[in-house]
Amino acid sequence: MEKRILIAGFGGQGVLLMGQLLSKAGMHENMQVCWMPSYGPEMRGGEANCGVVLADEPIGSPLVTEPDVAILMNRPSLDKFEPSIAPGGTLLYNSSLIDAEPSRTDIKVYDVPCNDIAVKIGNARVANMVMLGAFNALTELLPAESLLEALRETLGSGKEHLIPVNQQALAAGAESVV
């Protein structure tokens, strides 16, 4: 098994964090993992993306140029990355912020209104976790508990109070696609 995942959006959407959580959870599940961010002059609100590889075998290229799964959080990233998805791959897009329809017919497409769901839960900032929940329900790559654990580890003990809302977000995201 080797899954190449691309996550893209704008800075501040928690795109890099999503990739790190997947990588951490994969590591705890004894997978081979690699996280590779795009990097450039530091800029808030600019484009951000990262590639994550989860695999059984030692990972070759750390670059995700033809993703098996693409998670696209805003319109510019849909325009830019939809064409790169591997044939037969999967696209999850944030339909709250993307007003266009993906055009590819050789891939599986799921729309997830991440921001709307997050607002319903009561915290607009967990839109990224909604998307991760959807991703995980569709791919079944990682136990949901592992993702939550990775988040707990990343937030640290001072932010334990944020766990329940994130847990809700993961669950709501999963429900939205199954």
Binding site: V33, P41, S61, P62
Partner: protein, 351 residues
């Protein structure tokens, strides 16, 4: 040992601290900034020194001072900054001072770009500064290997009294992978005894003089001959490489660092299509592992060197293969990274 998910730059910094490095002097430059940032946080916790120097030139000369005083010391930078350090590196080599210099390469020449590159291969493997000298150059291809090689770099530096270069690229600096950090305590690895160091003269032994000046050419030649003997010893004992599926390979790929990772993915695809392709991955770029290439030249039909440069290591591959088989080259420059598909199509052309 617990596995940690760490960014290459931070893993290199932590590995240095665990190798006993207690002095770091550096200057900001992308894409290696997480090394000085991490050091600025960690060094005070372990009783070490982090100092942001006024320039790369000063940083490397602070390294010279601390190394001459017997400390385990490191600096890090990227291409343009490493060019500025070359004066100091030549002095360090001449004065036989141990230290570790990390170069997280970016596109060049000049200010270039901040994206990954391997364009500093010549600079690193040919000494880089003025005068006749070489430095061991270690090229990790994963974050885990970066940890191992950083540690090894300090040991080689002290063993041979030489600067050692850890040569990565923007990808290895920025990516996160699981690492297992050696756990022998943060203060366990005291620098070994360095009787040559200038730490104050008590009169019981000859005075320590850290110096690279030998005004009499016949004396300087003797110094150079001694250096060359040391380099020969390093070539004999410290050459390192990894090879995969070379035995039955018609085509042997030569690649190092993260480029070798991309090549490995391409080799898997090629093998799946029935093409017999293998790889030799130099881990030490100097000393260059010529022997495995010479060996492979007996069985393989051709070689393909893949680099994020216009073709630098390919010279060493050609020297090793010595005209017995064709050595092809494929590279991208300026921060552009060859894709797995690019490499696969070059493989098909070359087989």
């Amino acid at each position: 040992m617990a596995k940690l998910l760490m960014k290459g730059n931070e893993a290199i910094a932590e590995a240095a601290i665990r190798a006993g490095c207690r002095c770091f002097f550096g200057y900001p430059i992308t894409p290696q900034n997480q090394i000085p940032e991490y050091m600025s946080k960690r060094m005070p916790q372990v009783g070490g020194t982090f100092l942001q120097a006024e320039s790369e030139v000063s940083a490397i000369n602070m390294v010279y001072g601390a190394s001459g005083a017997g400390a385990r010391v490191m600096t890090s930078s990227s291409g343009p900054g490493v060019s500025l350090k070359q004066e100091g590196i030549s002095y360090l080599a001449g004065a036989q001072l141990p230290c570790v210099i990390v170069n997280i390469m970016r596109g060049g020449p000049g200010l270039g770009s901040i994206q990954p590159s391997q364009g500093d291969y010549y600079q690193a493997t040919r000494g880089g500064g003025h005068g006749d000298y070489r430095l061991p150059v270690l090229a990790p291809s994963s974050v885990g290997e970066a940890v191992e090689l950083t540690r090894k770099a300090f040991d080689l530096a002290d063993k041979y009294r030489t600067p050692v270069i850890v040569l990565g690229d923007g990808m290895i600096g920025q990516m996160m992978e699981p690492v297992e950090l050696p756990d022998d305590g943060e203060s366990a690895r005291e620098p070994e005894s360095k009787p040559w160091a200038a730490r104050g003269w008590d009169g019981s032994s000859p005075r320590a003089i850290i110096n690279s000046l030998y005004i009499d050419p016949s004396v300087l030649e003797q110094h150079n001959l001694a250096l060359q003997r040391k380099f020969a010893e390093i070539e004999k004992a410290e050459t390192s490489f990894a090879s995969e599926r070379v035995e039955d390979a018609d085509l042997v790929i030569a690649a190092y660092g993260t480029m070798a990772r991309i090549a490995r993915s391409a080799i898997r695809m090629a093998r799946a299509e029935g093409l017999k392709v293998g790889m030799i991955r130099p881990v030490t770029l100097w000393p260059f592992p010529s022997e495995p290439f010479a060996q492979a030249a007996r069985t393989a039909k051709a070689f393909l060197t893949v680099e994020m440069s216009a073709g630098q290591m390919v010279d060493d591959v050609r020297l090793a293969v010595a005209g017995r088989k064709p050595v092809h080259f494929y590279g991208r420059t300026g921060g552009m990274v060859p894709t797995v598909r690019d490499v696969l199509s070059r493989i098909k052309e070359a087989v």
